[in-house]
């Protein structure tokens, strides 16, 4: 019998659904679940989808150094990317620097990486945070590595599309500049999400449950996708797929 769907597998499948129609999907460092989702999208959509997993040695076609991905984004050649952050707030501002007063912060993280640029240029940026608490999803970030939106006169073809966590999926509303609760993962409720979210968000009257992948897709995740994730994310592959 097929073992029950794990949260990571449900997230891979859900994110994959958000990537339909995108020609080139890129994933950055520390992003095994987005990488899995991008690779699953390619499996389901065929060779027309290009996937670039930065953390890998073989799953990308960059030949011109570390700046190539940023140049591709500026040229409009990347359709989707993923960002996480120590803190994310209700306006989709992302903080990868730290907590407290800059520069000598109480908590300091690695740094903004390419977020201060990619968030502006890639049309669909999917935020992901696997710890969903009032500590991580805050009312207002302490430091804006990358803002969720900009003045309308600023050149900005890209921005937030969705936020997925270990509790739920939010979609980003570009007009209202806030998140709308789209689905709840099994075991979660509107109450559990509200209690653990530091920002206000919209929601419909009825919120569906995040769907699990059908059996054939789950098999694909556990075989083809799992095998491809071995090189960039050996620890993750071992933990999730055994």
């Amino acid at each position: 019998m097929i073992a029950e769907c794990r949260l990571e597998e449900r997230l891979i499948y859900t994110i994959c659904g958000l990537l339909e129609g995108i020609e080139h999907i890129a994933t950055g460092m520390a992003s095994p679940i987005p990488a899995g989702a991008a690779l699953l999208r390619r499996e389901l959509s065929g060779a027309s989808v290009r996937v670039s997993v930065l953390a890998s040695r073989r799953l990308h076609a960059f030949t011109d150094g570390g700046s190539e991905i940023f140049d591709l984004a500026a040229q409009g050649r990347i359709g989707a990317f993923f960002l996480s952050g120590g803190q994310i707030d209700g306006q989709a501002n992302v903080n990868l620097v730290g907590v407290g007063e800059y520069p000598r912060m109480d908590v300091r993280w690695s740094g903004s990486f390419g977020s201060s640029f990619l968030y502006y240029l890639i049309p669909k940026v999917i935020l992901f945070r696997l710890e969903h608490t009032v500590r991580t999803l805050v009312e207002r970030v302490d430091f804006v590595s990358a803002p969720g939106s900009s003045d309308p006169d600023l050149y900005r073809p890209g921005g937030p599309y969705a936020l997925i966590t270990n509790r739920c999926l939010f979609m980003y509303d570009q007009t209202k500049r806030c998140f709308t609760l789209a689905s709840l993962h099994p075991g979660e409720s509107i109450e559990s999400v509200t209690e653990n979210t530091g920002f206000e968000f919209d929601r419909p009257d009825i919120v569906s449950t995040t769907t699990a992948p059908p059996a054939d897709v789950l098999r694909l995740i556990r075989t083809k996708v799992a095998a491809l994730l071995q090189d960039p994310y050996p620890k993750f592959a071992a933990e999730v797929f055994g």
Partner: protein
């Protein structure tokens, strides 16, 4: 000829770097100059301005922990899958070092400006972020070709010295860097480049088209030293992978000052520690 720039060892190469120098290093995946940096610690270098291109990790963390760094300028300091860089975190929180936060493409573009001998370069994005807000040296201008289109400009980055580890040098001082394209970028932008290499190529790298395609000429190079496994514990392209077990050991030791001092005694002071 190489004889005038080939140093008899990594410590002699390290002696060429002055206190207070602005030094550029490439990211963890590009094969950092770890052996050369350990030699810098041995000679107790001070007040470095380290530029992580566009990120850095182990090499910056050990320099910071050893008290060699006044300023770190980069978009992130990370040990990747192993986690945060402990000495960096500690030093930023205590104020022991100055952090100049950036974002990856800004570092790349600013180095391009240095490479081209121009004073500044524009880049998209950044406007409205706190990264930009805390950079008095970043200026917002009006696009001269499209009034009303605001864009941010960055001053050129011109490091005093680029520190590299590469697969090969030849006896003419040409350096083969393989598929890594960030190495030539920092060499072109910097006033000089000091390189450790895995081996010497007997011949002229520029005579073989496939090698020449991934070689930079000696015009950029101030000094070369042989250092087998000179990127360890980081990896070097196809030559060897990173030693993640050692990076985990490093992280576990470096979380405390005493543990870090122990790491220096065990792995930095003895020259051939990795053998």
């Amino acid at each position: 000829m190489l004889e005038s720039i080939l140093q008899p060892g990594v410590d002699k190469l390290a002696a060429m770097i002055p206190h207070g120098a602005k030094v550029a290093v490439t990211k963890n995946q590009s094969g950092g100059p770890a052996a050369l940096v350990r030699a810098l610690i041995r000679r107790e270098i001070r007040d470095l301005h380290v530029i992580g291109v566009p990120t850095t990790g182990y090499v910056a963390d050990i320099l910071i922990g050893a008290g060699c760094v006044a300023t770190i300028e980069t978009s992130a300091v990370t040990l990747d899958e192993v986690g945060l860089a402990p000495r960096f975190i500690e030093a930023v929180k205590s104020g022991a070092i100055r952090i100049v936060d950036s974002t990856c493409p800004a570092i790349y573009s600013a180095l391009r400006a240095g490479e081209k001998g121009i004073p500044f370069i524009p880049i998209r994005g950044l406007i409205g972020s706190d990264v930009a807000a805390h950079r008095a040296d970043y200026k917002i201008i009006d696009n001269p070709y499209a009034p009303g289109d605001r864009i941010i400009v960055l001053p050129a980055i011109v490091p005093d010295i680029a520190l590299l580890h590469a697969p090969m040098a030849d006896r003419h001082g040409n350096i083969y860097t393989g598929q890594d394209r960030d190495a030539p970028l920092i060499a072109h932008a910097s006033r000089q480049t000091l390189v450790t290499v895995e081996k010497i190529y007997e011949g002229n790298l520029l005579d073989v088209p496939q090698l020449a395609a991934a070689t930079m000429s000696s015009i950029y190079i101030g000094g070369v030293a042989l250092a087998e496994r000179g990127a360890w514990p980081l990896g070097l392209g196809e030559d060897y992978s990173e030693d993640q077990a050692h990076l985990i050991r490093y992280r576990n030791m470096a979380v405390s000052e005493a543990g870090f001092a122990d790491y220096i005694r065990s792995y930095v002071v003895p020259v051939a520690a990795h053998v």
